[in-house]
């Protein structure tokens, strides 16, 4: 997309586009500044808030809702990792582990900033660390002192994040914002696979970089019953009415479940997210 061309096209029918974008006649200056703050890849998102400003038209509320929902999840992920890195002295990392968790923390921060910038005035209230409870009401009391527990909760966040974005894709059908959402979605999938690799290195058993069928045929392959809701439905082996198990020689039920990740509806994601939010700050 050539943003300057688009603005020029609009100028032909609306000579005051630049002033509408910024009534103080410094539109191009602020546009240039925006370019510095927001990468080209984020332009579809930024365009949405620019045009909202210019014409007072709301971005379809369904899109705003998706982005605000994503923003809430990204805040939750960011604070989870950030606290581990800066304020959990009992949780010890090797230098390599610290580097890798920092990469993920920084990605979540970038997602927060991207979404916040795109939403502008429509952005939801900030979620601070003080509003969270990463022990989930003492379900994971050692989340910030035991490395494996920390990673298992991290995995819950990442695998939930992948499912949450997937579940919202349909609401962005054909919208340029979809591409940005998909680009976040696959980064979360990379995180999830890496946390699984870190867990394997720490001696966890039964985990692959991809979600396989858990003991007893359920979708949860982590061995942590408290996160069953994160994986409910991941055991699915049928897609679009086509049975994937046995679709070719060697494609077992496990392979069939592994090779398709499943979406999760917003309400189900909220139930999981709310386990980690204190009363008064839960998502609706």
């Amino acid at each position: 997309m050539n943003i300057v061309n688009i603005l020029e096209e609009i100028e032909k029918v609306d000579g005051e586009i630049y002033e509408r974008l910024n009534p103080r006649r410094a539109a191009m200056k602020s546009f240039a500044n925006m370019g510095k703050k927001i990468s080209l890849a984020a332009m579809p998102l930024a365009m949405g808030s620019m045009f909202q400003k210019a014409y007072g038209q709301t971005t379809p509320s369904v899109v705003t809702d998706v982005l605000n929902f994503a923003l809430a999840l990204e805040y939750l992920e960011y604070h989870f990792y950030n606290h581990a890195l800066v304020a959990a002295p009992s949780l010890t990392f090797t230098a390599q582990q610290r580097t890798e968790i920092t990469v993920i923390r920084d990605h979540e921060m970038a997602h927060v900033n991207l979404l916040k910038g795109a939403l502008g005035a429509s952005a939801r209230a900030e979620i601070t660390y003080a509003m969270t409870d990463y022990t989930a009401g003492n379900t994971f009391p050692t989340v910030y002192s035991d490395y494996v527990t920390f990673l298992k909760v991290a995995l819950g966040f990442e695998d939930t994040g992948v499912r949450a974005y997937k579940g919202q894709a349909g609401n962005l059908l054909g919208n340029p914002v979809l591409t940005t959402a998909l680009q976040i979605h696959s980064v979360e999938a990379r995180h999830a696979a890496h946390i699984r690799t870190m867990l394997n290195a720490a001696g966890a058993t039964g985990l692959k970089p991809w979600i396989t069928i858990g003991p007893g045929g359920i979708g949860n392959d982590t061995g942590v019953a408290a996160v069953n809701a994160v994986y409910a439905g991941e055991e699915l082996t049928t897609q679009a009415g086509i049975n994937i198990a046995g679709i070719a020689t060697g494609v077992t039920a496990a392979a069939a479940a592994e090779c398709f990740d499943e979406p999760l509806a917003k309400a189900n994601v909220a139930v999981i997210a709310n386990l980690f939010l204190k009363d008064g700050f839960k998502l609706s």
């Binding site: 984020a42 979605h185 679009a240 990740d261």
Partner: protein, 207 residues
């Protein structure tokens, strides 16, 4: 007439001309079938690669690596077969691959290409999503792309631990470091790269 047709077919055979490689396949992006066939083409390529790796893994592959590459092989075969079935009579034909440039004998050779294919697959699905008109197909593409992302992360970590989401390496494929956004490429960028490994001519219309 029947005799002439037979004669023509006979002549073609005598010359050793195989119809699919001379005419190729056509991806018609006018509708969702075009996007699904595009995915089907890429999954055919990935499946063929992993089948060859899994049938004769490099000697320096660990046991765990052999197991996971078997897994990935079956994931890609399942994607390929699923798309073929979902497309039904709209499916393009089978593609003939050309892996002559790939070093299948060494771990490094295999991992290098595996990384390239997985990152390309992620970029391709991310970039094609916005073209999809059906919510159901979009969701199916979403279900596949995150698994490709998991493959990519796993393979990247094998090459260099901690490089699972090294977006700096992917900016040439549309990734954004500042936004922590993964690669995203349009079909016109993906297909020439894929074509390096595909013998069958792929024609593109209505892109």
């Amino acid at each position: 007439m029947a005799g002439a047709a037979l004669l023509a077919a006979g002549c073609t055979k005598d010359r050793g001309i195989v119809a699919p490689s001379s005419t190729g396949v056509t991806l018609d992006f006018k509708d969702d079938f075009g996007v699904l066939n595009y995915a089907y083409a890429l999954e055919q390529l990935e499946a063929a690669f992993y089948i060859q790796v899994a049938s004769a893994p490099p000697a320096d592959f660990t046991t765990a690596e052999r197991t996971y590459f078997q897994d990935i092989q079956f994931h890609e075969i399942a994607h390929r077969e699923f798309l073929k079935k979902a497309l039904g009579s709209n499916a393009i034909g089978s593609l003939e691959v050309n892996f002559s440039s790939i070093d299948f004998k060494t771990r490094n050779g295999v991992l290098t290409i595996a990384k390239a294919f997985e990152d390309l697959g992620v970029a391709a699905y991310n970039g094609a999503g916005v073209r999809i008109k059906s919510v159901d197909y979009l969701l199916l593409a979403g279900k596949i792309v995150s698994v490709e992302g998991r493959h990519a992360a796993y393979i990247r970590d094998l090459i260099s631990p901690g490089s699972f989401a090294n977006l700096n390496e992917l900016t040439g494929s549309g990734a954004s470091v500042s936004g922590a956004l993964d690669a995203s490429l349009t079909p016109d960028k993906v297909l020439p790269i894929a074509a390096t490994y595909i013998k069958t001519k792929i024609n593109v219309i209505n892109l």
